[in-house]
Amino acid sequence: MKARPVKKLDPTRSLAENAARIVGVRLGELRSLAPQALKPEKRTAQHDMRIAAKRLRYILEATETCFGEEAPAARRRARDLQDILGELHDCDVMLPRVHEHIARLHAEDVEATCEVATGAPDLDPRVAVAAPNRTHYRGLEVLTVYFEARRKVLHRRFREFWAEQERKGTWDRLERAAKATLRDTRARRRALEAGVD
């Protein structure tokens, strides 16, 4: 997911003013992804939300001193969110790998079984019992059950975590802090530009 561009960044203006703009945009990105990501089947939205949490976390790691006491807590919650969505993503990476591996073993066994039967008009079931990977399928199927179930558990944990942060106002407080920083730094800059001490 490409990062939303941040307007009005200016190298000559203060770190605080620029950082406040970036945090506002990154927080908005994160919150905008929640409605879709909270649906279990929306894997792309969950992946995008993980990236958005990571971007918010990294800007706060570098600039949280610009935002007062709300920022460290928000940074830690962004990290926690990134961790939960990261574990969800690990399930989404693992499952296709296992399915692909099963398909590969299956194809190998079909090929090996056909070779044994070369020349025969039909296939004796005893030949299939000797398929080289025949003992592998059970464990791999159990593995897919595990990761599909784990995914459901992790998604529930994600929904509960997000609801808790909404209830506690974690993101609202960060948004207010970023707006206050932007307002104050802009006022300070305009006062300096106007020549007022």
Partner: protein
């Protein structure tokens, strides 16, 4: 995961460009510090920490993009991204293997052959990913990247 280093001496009222010099320099130093023993597959935390450091550096570069000359910035970002992608290729296999090993340790005996077959294939991929990563983490390559970042930082100072 290694904690991000605090940026000492950071002044919220300093200019964006001044902050860029400080923060990008700190993140570049962190990356260099995590370069040791990365290719050791018996200790996967090394690659993880270096990958996180590369992500933090990339994030810092992207945050401060307006402070840098565009051509130099794009080339430097591409170099950091290439390193991050190579680290990611290794890390993905590390994570998969750790999950498979953890599962196999608790699995019933009849379930283990299948998991072992996937683990073997993943180990082969891990070895290949490590070969692809090796040139990116050689001291000369990292020094060249460090020099490139230093030039970029000097341009922001100017």
């Amino acid at each position: 995961m290694a904690k991000a280093r605090e940026i000492e001496g950071l002044d919220p009222q300093a200019s964006y460009a001044e902050a860029a010099v400080l923060i990008v320099s700190v993140r570049a130093a962190e990356l260099a510090e995590h370069a040791e023993n990365v290719l050791d597959t018996t200790d996967i935390e090394g690659v993880h920490d270096m990958r996180v450091a590369s992500r933090r550096l990339r994030a810092a570069l992207e945050i401060f993009e307006p402070c840098f000359p565009q051509t130099d910035f794009r080339a430097t970002l591409a170099a950091v991204k290439e390193l991050a992608d190579s680290l990611g290729g290794r890390r993905d296999r590390d994570v998969t293997l750790a999950a498979l090993d953890a599962f196999a340790a608790r699995a019933a005996a009849p379930d283990r052959p299948g998991i072992a077959s996937l683990a073997k294939r993943t180990r082969d991929e891990q070895a290949k990913a490590n070969q692809d990563l090796a040139p990116c983490v050689e001291p000369e390559a990292l020094e060249a990247l460090g020099r490139r970042i230093e030039l970029l930082v000097r341009a922001a100072r100017a």
